[in-house]
Amino acid sequence: MRMNVFWRSLILTLFLAFMMIPVIATLIFSISTRWDRTLLPEGLTLEWWKKVTTRGAFRLTLRNSFFISLATALALGVLVTPTAYWAHIRFPQSKVIFEIMSALSFGIPGVILALSLIRFYSGIPLPLINTPNILLCACMELSFPFMYRPVANALDSIDVRTLTEASQSLGGSWFQTLLRVILPNITPGVLSGFLLVFSTVFAEFTLTNLLVGARFKTFPIYLVEFTRFDGRQASALAVISFFVAWVVSLLIIWITGKRAIPAGGPVAGR
């Protein structure tokens, strides 16, 4: 049943080349003096990295991105974990609601979510439109499945009922049980959800661009501005983006010993 060695090597080599060449090329491009006329870079330099990282806007956008990613991941963790636990132990029938919510979060394209939020909330006098608040809410909505899936999987993999009964028979309240008994047992799930949300929001461009525009510049917005203005500095920024996504994915694989993408509810930020 195994594939012929020749074909297997050919297919895997082509796959590896397709996936690696753009990333490696961007990395080398960012440290080349010039690489648009000759087969090999004309020289190596760290000038573009120095130039782009010493700008004030670099630190500001990086800070904004860290802030919004962290806030989204924390808010979702606090909102989703207790809910998923309650649904698991007291109300398993309600899980279908969260499955539908996950499917909608994946299905509704960012452009359409942005349009619907602008159209609806621009008529409502809340401090939302054109502020980072609406971006936070939209990012939470977008990345909900990334938090819910790992937490729900973690809950499925332990004996929640026995743990809860043991804790309650010793006099623990519902909240104490969650915090002291359940949470330590599902830490890998919560942590990988946290990291998945973080990296999704860190790479988020569509919602930021359409909901807040220039009022709250994040790292991907800064990167897109540079692609039209200075390619070599933009390539340094692209390498940083790849690096963040790469580190987060490896962290998740390391924490859970499993693949980072929850089957059936993947990808955002396209």
Partner: protein
């Protein structure tokens, strides 16, 4: 006996309305920031100055908008189809590799690159295949001139960039099903006189069809809703639906908010149909495998 009584107790609790209370914050959040805005978008797309109307949809019937939908559909079908076929082949090559570390490394690569997308990816493709990109230069040095026949800033270039995230996604989606093919089935087929081709045609493929089809749907939806990659790579040059909707939101063209609503509702219907198809098929595939 005791376990039974606890079960009965829990069912009683869950039937009580108070069991809903801890679920409410999340549900209300989702209703407030997803359901209500989207439903109101659908309603307003059917609303004009004189009440219920289809005028917003009629306005969408211009050659320009129809072209945008054609391009989006073509792009999504092409990249989903290529993603499904090549992704499945690569995934099969990965699991048939005899070395465990090769398998692990390639699966980790697919896992990580599924997260690469949007602006940095688009830029990486400009560096690689742009008019002075490195592959362009390499090919030029051996006498193959990519430009001006091929442009990375075109819909073909966009399809190539989309494949970069479609391919690893497909690998991650299909791996569990491929690993579910039992060696005994192959042995049984061979013992009964089948060759490899017949095994694939009559045994393996029919088992894989639901997973392949459901993956196609998710890849299609993934590509149809994509915006950041297209915007960074081609700007307003390539006419696809998400770019048009975004342009209407930013008010770059004459502000026609009713038109934006109608375009959004049509796109949303297409994408949600795909997600629904995916869920239905994935559910069936899961049931038939267990």
């Amino acid at each position: 006996m005791e376990a039974q009584s606890i079960n009965i107790l829990q069912i009683k609790i869950s039937r009580k309305w108070s069991a809903w209370i801890p679920l409410l914050p999340l549900i209300i959040f989702s209703i407030g920031f997803q359901i209500i805005p989207v439903v109101s978008l659908v309603i307003s797309s059917f609303t004009g100055k004189q009440g219920i109307t289809l005028v917003n949809y009629q306005r969408a019937f211009t050659p320009f908008i129809l072209d945008a939908f054609c391009n989006s559909l073509r792009l999504s079908i092409t990249t989903a189809l290529l993603g499904v076929v090549f992704g499945a082949i690569v995934a099969y090559a990965i699991i048939s590799s005899p070395k465990k570390y090769v398998q692990d490394a390639l699966i980790a690569l697919a896992d990580v690159t599924t997260n690469f997308g949007g602006a940095p990816l688009a830029f990486a493709f400009i560096v690689t295949l742009g008019s002075t990109g490195i592959i362009t230069l390499v090919l030029k040095s051996v006498g193959i001139f990519l430009y001006p026949n091929f442009r990375i800033y075109s819909i073909t270039g966009l399809a190539l960039a989309y494949l970069y995230f479609q391919l690893p996604l497909m690998i991650m989606l299909i791996l569990p099903s491929l690993l579910g093919l039992k060696k005994e089935w192959w042995e049984a087929a061979i013992n009964l006189g089948a060759n490899n081709l017949k095994y694939w045609r009559f045994v393996a493929l029919p088992i894989l069809v639901p997973s392949l089809l459901s993956s196609f749907f998710i890849l299609f939806a993934n590509s149809f809703g994509a915006y950041a990659t297209a915007w960074t790579l081609t700007g307003p040059d390539v006419n696809i639906v998400t770019v048009q909707i975004a342009a209407l939101i930013r008010g770059e063209v004459q502000l026609e908010i009713g038109l934006a609503d109608a375009l959004a509702v049509v796109s949303l219907s297409i994408v949600l149909l795909c997600v629904g198809g995916y869920l239905w098929l994935a559910n069936r595939a899961r049931r038939s495998q267990t």
